[in-house]
């Protein structure tokens, strides 16, 4: 390999925790019972008493530490290297967020404790809601949705509630074919049918198409802006006008908010309701796939429909939960959302301040455009439009050598990089969706560029190198077909 970015190193093998198990081994201890043992039969009812759980692990604390430490070394992570997954905003997760979220007085509080005893938590929720409203230019926010998809569902439910009250919930939701899969899935869960809008030649919403599709049956448009190609919908004004003029509402998928902070606000360009992904834009850790937090933000007229409770302040400056909201859609999660994630997001916003957030978005855009500039001669650029925080290439050139986008992705692993998002958005055949984020340095970007260039070269000279990649990982390419054909979803003795 010409570029010297990674080297294989000894790495421990490790079986499943169940295979490590050995009779009589324990990894815990408990204070001795200080009340008398009680007859389980009479407490639980004879038929309810359970014996020891067959096959539950029996390991020591040391076994557990070593087991999971070894497993962890099999993962790629932001802390280890560049993770340019498009649409995922894999930016640095500040360590201070983790520290404040672990403060005793914050992480050990019960959601049903009397409000007078948890004023600090309510203040956190209120502050974060207000800041998110300011950042998005919206009027009110609910932190209840635990992830982006849940935020979408919440938003569409609110649209339905609003339209129903106006007399007609309407039947369908328009969604560009470039949208994330959660959009249509959420719309359907809110009781709507979905009509896909074909993107135009520029990868954007086609005004003609929208004109044609928009009618009295359409409840809303679900728009991602900037869209999944990283392109800002330049006709946003016309788009929202078309929808509003015919009594529809505009929902915005705010997963790409990292492109907009301090530069423009959805609330200022006609969005009625949107969600954000705090686990993207606001630097909260992904944890290998969650937890997330997907707050919804709305314009004033939709506020009555927000999930209950809302957090409010009374004249005495005391915070309280308002559960008494007759028009609310209800609840999309028990209690108040992923509070711990909200704490981290608030810490991030406070650490950045107004200028910091604008710099974050600006540099995220700079980095993406830098990659676009450097790689466009090596990879096909299906939509050559001004992009913001991410850029989408395709494998068109490499396809000539019968190389799939997956082959390129897997080969990147050998160079020590996490691959970009592949095969999304669906409107690009063989998409390579790259989002570097603002927390990558020019040096790291240059190494990534060099790796991508080198791979483009290998595709010409030695396509098999890609076809059988990755070569330096502890497991080689995994057989996903077999996994699906004969599913083994749990360990069995």
């Amino acid at each position: 390999m010409t570029i010297h970015t990674s080297t294989p190193h000894i790495n421990q093998n490790e079986e499943l925790i169940f295979e490590r198990s050995s009779p009589g081994r324990v990894g815990y201890d408990l204070p001795a019972l200080d009340v008398r043992e009680f007859d389980l039969e009479s407490a639980l009812g004879g038929e309810n008493v359970r014996d020891f759980i067959e096959d539950f692990p029996e390991v020591s604390e040391m076994d557990v530490v070593r087991h999971f430490t070894r497993l962890s070394t099999w993962n790629f992570s932001i802390d280890a290297g560049m993770y340019p997954l498009g649409s995922c905003t894999m930016k640095y997760n500040p360590k201070i967020n983790e520290r404040v979220a672990r403060l005793e007085g914050i992480c050990n509080t019960h959601p049903l404790a009397p409000e007078t005893l948890v004023q600090g938590n309510l203040e956190i929720l209120k502050k974060l809601s207000d800041f998110l409203a300011e950042i998005t230019g919206m009027d009110a926010v609910s932190l209840q949705p635990p992830a982006g998809a849940s935020g979408e569902l919440t938003g569409v439910m609110m649209i339905r509630a609003c339209l129903t009250e106006r007399g007609n919930p309407r039947k369908k939701v328009l969604i560009p074919d470039s949208a994330h899969g959660t959009n249509p899935a959420s719309a359907v869960m809110a009781g709507y049918s979905v009509e896909a809008l074909k993107s135009d030649a520029h990868g954007c919403v086609s005004l003609e198409g929208l004109e044609a599709a928009m009618n009295e049956d359409v409840a809303a448009l679900m728009l991602t802006n900037p869209n999944t190609l990283g392109i800002f919908e330049s006709h946003i004004a016309e788009i929202t006008a078309i929808i509003h003029s015919r009594g529809g509402l505009v929902y915005m998928d705010g997963a790409n908010l990292n492109a907009l902070m301090g530069l423009t606000r959805p609330g200022d360009f006609g969005i009625d309701v949107m969600h954000m992904n705090l686990h993207k834009t606001m630097s909260t850790p992904h944890g290998g796939g969650g937890p997330g937090s997907g707050p919804v933000a709305v314009k004033k007229f939709l506020e009555p429909y927000l999930p209950s409770p809302t957090v409010e302040v009374n004249q005495q400056g005391k915070y309280f939960f308002n559960h008494d909201r007759s028009k609310s859609i209800g609840k999309v999660k028990a209690f108040y959302g992923n509070f711990g994630t909200a704490v981290r997001a608030l810490c991030y916003i406070l650490a950045n301040g107004s200028a910091g957030l604008k710099e974050a978005s600006s540099v995220a855009i700079l980095n993406a455009n830098y990659l676009k500039h450097k790689l466009r001669d090596f990879y096909d650029l299906p939509y050559d439009e001004p992009v913001l925080h991410e850029v989408v290439f395709s494998n068109k050139r490499q396809a000539k050598h019968n190389l799939s986008v997956m082959d390129i992705a897997k080969r990147l692993m050998d160079y020590g990089f996490h691959p970009p998002t592949v095969a999304f958005p669906l409107i690009v055949h063989g998409a390579l969706m790259i989002e570097p984020t603002e927390t990558e340095s020019k040096e790291e970007l240059d190494r990534f560029i060099a790796a991508m260039m080198s791979i483009a070269g290998e595709a010409e000279t030695n396509p098999d190198l890609l076809r059988h990649a990755p070569h330096l990982t502890r497991v080689k390419r995994l057989d996903e077909v077999q996994a699906a054909r004969r599913p083994v979803l749990r360990w069995k003795r």
Binding site: Y28, L30, F38, G45, E47, N48, F56, E58, E61, V64, F68, T73, W74, N75, F76, L85, E98, G105, I106, T109, H110, L112, A113, Q119, P146, A147, S150, E152, M157, P184, A185, A187, M189, P226, L263, T264, F269, G287, G288, G289, G290, K331, A334, Y336, F339, L350, A351, L357, K358, S362, Y370, K410, H418, E438, H468, V475, L478, P487, L489, R490
Partner: protein, 445 residues
Amino acid sequence: MRYIPNSVEGQQEMLREMGLKSLEDLFVGIPQEVRLKTPLNLPQAMTEPELLEEFGSYAGKNASGMLSFLGAGVNEHYIPTVIDSIISRGEFLTSYTPYQAEIAQGTLQAIFEFQTLMCLLTGMEVSNASMYDGSTALTEAMLMAARVAQKNRFLMASSVHPEYRIVVNTYTRHQNLKVDLIGCADDGSIDFTELESGLNNDVAAIVVQSPNFFGNLEPLKKLAAMAHDCSALLVVCVAEALSLGIVCSPGSAGADIVCGEAQSLGVPASFGGPHVGFLTCREKFVRNLPGRLIGQTVDSEGKRGFVLTLSTREQHIRREKATSNICTNQNLFALMATIYCSLLGKKGIREVAAQNVAKTQYALSELSKIPAVRILYPGPRFNEIVVQLSKPFEDVASRFDSAKIIPGLPLERYYPALKNCLLLSFTETKSKAHIDRLIQLLKTL
């Protein structure tokens, strides 16, 4: 900004290479008329010491040192230190969903272990990789049941967690699913006369929680038989996962879908989230299961490995036809539960559960000696008790505050009929002395 490596000079250099002058040149895609002209109205950036002070002050505004008997689906159990030191490792904390299996085997194997542990606990055959929490797990379980049974009416016990029921209603309203509530009998378990009268062949599923919201165990075997008799499913929700360490599994009782909340397994209360929901079912229903699934496979050299699988159920492939819209789940917290179960193990999970029973039974016997306190729902229970005070709770609340005790959850908010009733939880974290402190106070009311 210390999180952004590229200095202003560095940024200029990159712009130069691109033949641009300023960052502004990169924003051309954003129409001038919608550009933000003024800075966001947010506080000045804070430094680390200032952030620590700020969040320290929030913590200070929360009460500390209270002796709390709150449970109600967010249970106070001891959390081994090892859990946090493992999940704090960047490899677990700062990785994304394991889309690229070859460099995500750590997460994939760990969650495969989680799926197995959930199956073992619930006595079911398949488990998904986690749900947001117990409330959405139950909701998805019911949506799934409707798909499987091809029916749209549910009989749900009113003793299912009220917060869960609100979430269920919020979702089901849009799926024209009908949810009929079934009250509970004097012993705390579901009211069978009501149930029988409501039950017929157009019922998709009977839905109960066990231990239910009042702490009582439901007669699952009987419920399973009844459900199956009219080709309905039995959906069982477990909001206190630790109970499964000592209570027979719903699977063994014949449940078809078992879902719930695993916060009890090593996850802090954290004001209600993040927690971790689980959803398990019989193998034959797997293609109707929502959420991610980790499966075992082999690599090109025949070596065992793990991947995300059966994705054709999911939104990123099936879009509007997916089994659910869920994408990001609660992975890191599923890992916490996995570590907890590994540490406690076969012996520990049962011992902790048994301690909960013993503490609760001790409290029960002490409470029953207090004239001013009436104990509701005498049926078999795990670690919660409903008591009714002879005085209006408002009148005595201050007494508890000054004693620095949170006696439990006043139930009237959720059950208007249950005036002056409190739901108390007694876990292994409560010493005899703790319980006696509560008892002494109750005696003086």
